[in-house]
């Protein structure tokens, strides 16, 4: 039986990157073929590929011009053909586990929580349930090292960004911006509506893995109380 081989649209990102764009259409999580292809390119360690960046419906490969002597569309196609010829492509993500992240939704940490329940016209318990029942997909990392853009937030608790960003949002703060939710990996300015805080470190420049997440991961938030937050707290910057 012949299985359906994936095809992607190939685009140029200037003279040193190529982009594979999924044809899957409506975005519901990340296209499984694109995820499998990302895994393939990562495992192959292709000489001259400097970065492999998966985001929503695209996979971008940053390359060293000196390592490729053909037209970039040609070598982009060659890599895709190698993937299609390999046995390990489809269903690579079948056994993916869900990463559970403890979050304390106490108003002392979720500094926009009061505003959020007013705006979404629900109780704190309802908001917590809506936010933590859902399994989110990490669509990409960016903005800050380790900052994961996850979706999709249920319609009822989607909140707009603050019109102007706060100058300081603490590391571990969990926020909502429209359909997306995310965790600030380090203390920084930020405009998302903060509804809670995780006690665990999301980005650690001294660890070998650096971050907890990568694009394509599945995440679920687990509500914890304030006492548990303080017991587990790994952040150095708490007053």
């Amino acid at each position: 039986m012949q299985s359906q081989r994936p095809t992607f649209q190939i685009q140029l990102l200037g003279d040193h990157a190529i982009v594979y764009k999924s044809n899957a259409g409506q975005l519901k999580g990340i296209d499984q073929d694109l995820l499998a292809f990302t895994q393939f390119v990562t495992d192959e360690k292709i000489h001259g590929i400097k970065d492999i960046i998966l985001a929503y419906d695209t996979l971008t490969l940053v390359y060293d011009i000196l390592h490729f002597d053909s037209n970039p569309f040609l070598f982009a196609n060659t890599i895709l053909e190698q993937f299609n010829a390999s046995k390990k492509c489809l269903n690579a993500m079948e056994n993916k586990s869900i990463i559970e992240i403890p979050v304390c939704y106490d108003a002392s940490l979720g500094i926009d929580l009061q505003n959020a329940i007013k705006a979404s016209n629900c109780s704190i318990d309802e908001l917590i349930q809506q936010h933590s029942d859902k399994i989110y997909t990490v669509y990409c990392l960016g903005f800050l090292p380790g900052f994961a853009y996850m979706g999709d937030v249920p319609n009822a608790i989607q909140l707009p960004r603050h019109p102007s960003p706060r100058s300081k949002v603490l590391a571990g703060s969990v926020g909502i911006a429209g359909r997306q939710t995310g965790i600030y990996p380090s203390t920084s300015p930020g405009g998302w509506q903060i509804i809670g805080r995780t006690p665990i470190k999301i980005f650690d420049p001294t660890s070998t893995s650096l971050t907890l997440f990568k694009a394509g991961d599945q995440i679920k938030f687990k509500p914890i109380d304030l006492a548990s937050f303080h017991t587990l707290n790994a952040h150095e910057d708490v007053d």
């Binding site: 140029l12 200037g14 990157a17 960046i53 695209t58 940053v62 000196l66 090292p145």
Partner: protein, 305 residues
């Protein structure tokens, strides 16, 4: 034997850079390479270093450096009128400094990014994720850089280096054309905006920095408002902001972007853009990827012995 360089006075935004930190952009960690890779590589070429050895990248007003031992340095890129103990020194040439010598910079004459190379190997303790590039930090007063001495052969300006200097200077400072390859949102532009983009001169806005250069010029618009899913961006990506202004992402760009991606400035022209002063007008033009690759390959011959 160890040598060292100390920062005596903090500059506005100085750092150490090498070719950049690649392989981590999928985690949101940007490469943080040089703004002008040609001038950075030129400093290393003149000192017979490996091309991508770390160098200091300086912006005006720049830091003041003190050298604790005798060593060789070389300054390339922007001309900020470098002086050692108030005595002016020449760009693009190896300079011997002596213990307690202080290097400072008097005024910005031409260019935006100045490179200070040194003979020797920077101590590995400054390395993180395969790169010496400063990550979201700048040089501070009191910072101290340990440099391990390497064998010095005769480091002088031979005809080969003379040629390299001329080629880099010409490419970076004597031309004003900025070429790009159209990107995925190019066809979403209003036809009148495409005309403006290709005909009108632009200038670099004063609010520009290592993250991005904002362009001053005519307002540019899409045919119709459109939302884009975020995708990877790199140094040189031309993004259209909702207010009609163009921003080109530079060395400290974020790893992904969600604004309309109009195109990508080619690698060879990035040093030129990086060194353009705010008052200097420039025009954009389109180039194809094959030609961009040929131009990039031809540059390699300037640096290979």
């Amino acid at each position: 034997m160890k040598m060292s360089i100390r920062i005596i006075k903090k500059g506005i935004s100085d750092r150490i850079i090498d070719a950049g930190r690649y392989g981590f952009q999928h985690l949101g960690i940007q490469p943080s390479g040089p703004m002008d890779f040609l001038s950075a590589q030129l400093a290393n070429t003149i000192l017979d270093n490996d091309l991508n050895q770390p160098v200091f990248e300086l912006h005006f007003p720049a830091s003041i450096f003190e050298f604790e031992e005798t060593m060789l340095i070389c300054i390339c890129g922007a001309n900020f009128v470098p002086v050692i103990n108030d005595k002016s020194i020449t760009l693009n040439t190896p300079i011997q400094v002596n213990p307690k010598d202080q290097l400072s910079f008097l005024q910005p004459i031409e260019g935006r990014s100045c490179y200070l190379g040194f003979k020797g190997k920077l101590d590995e303790s400054k390395k993180w994720l395969n790169s010496f590039s400063s990550f979201q930090t700048t040089l501070n007063k009191g910072d101290h850089f340990v440099i391990h001495k390497v064998a010095e052969i005769d480091i002088s300006i031979n005809p080969f280096k003379q040629h390299t200097i001329q080629q880099v200077q010409k490419n970076v400072f004597n031309e004003h054309e900025i070429r790009f390859i159209p990107g995925p949102a190019w066809n979403d532009l209003a036809p009148a905006s495409i005309q403006l983009l290709m005909q009108e001169p632009f200038r670099i806005d004063a609010k520009s920095n290592r993250m991005g250069f904002l362009f001053n010029g005519p307002a540019i618009h899409l045919s119709a408002p459109k939302d884009y899913l975020s995708s990877a961006v790199t140094m040189g990506t031309l993004q259209l902001l909702p207010n009609g202004q163009i921003i080109v992402l530079m060395a400290d760009h974020q790893t992904i972007g969600g604004y309309a991606n109009l195109g990508q400035i080619i690698l060879v022209d990035l040093p030129r853009l990086a060194q353009l002063n705010n008052q200097c007008p420039f025009k954009l033009s389109i180039i194809n990827v094959q030609t961009a690759h040929q131009l990039y390959r031809s540059i390699q011959s300037w640096f290979k012995h």
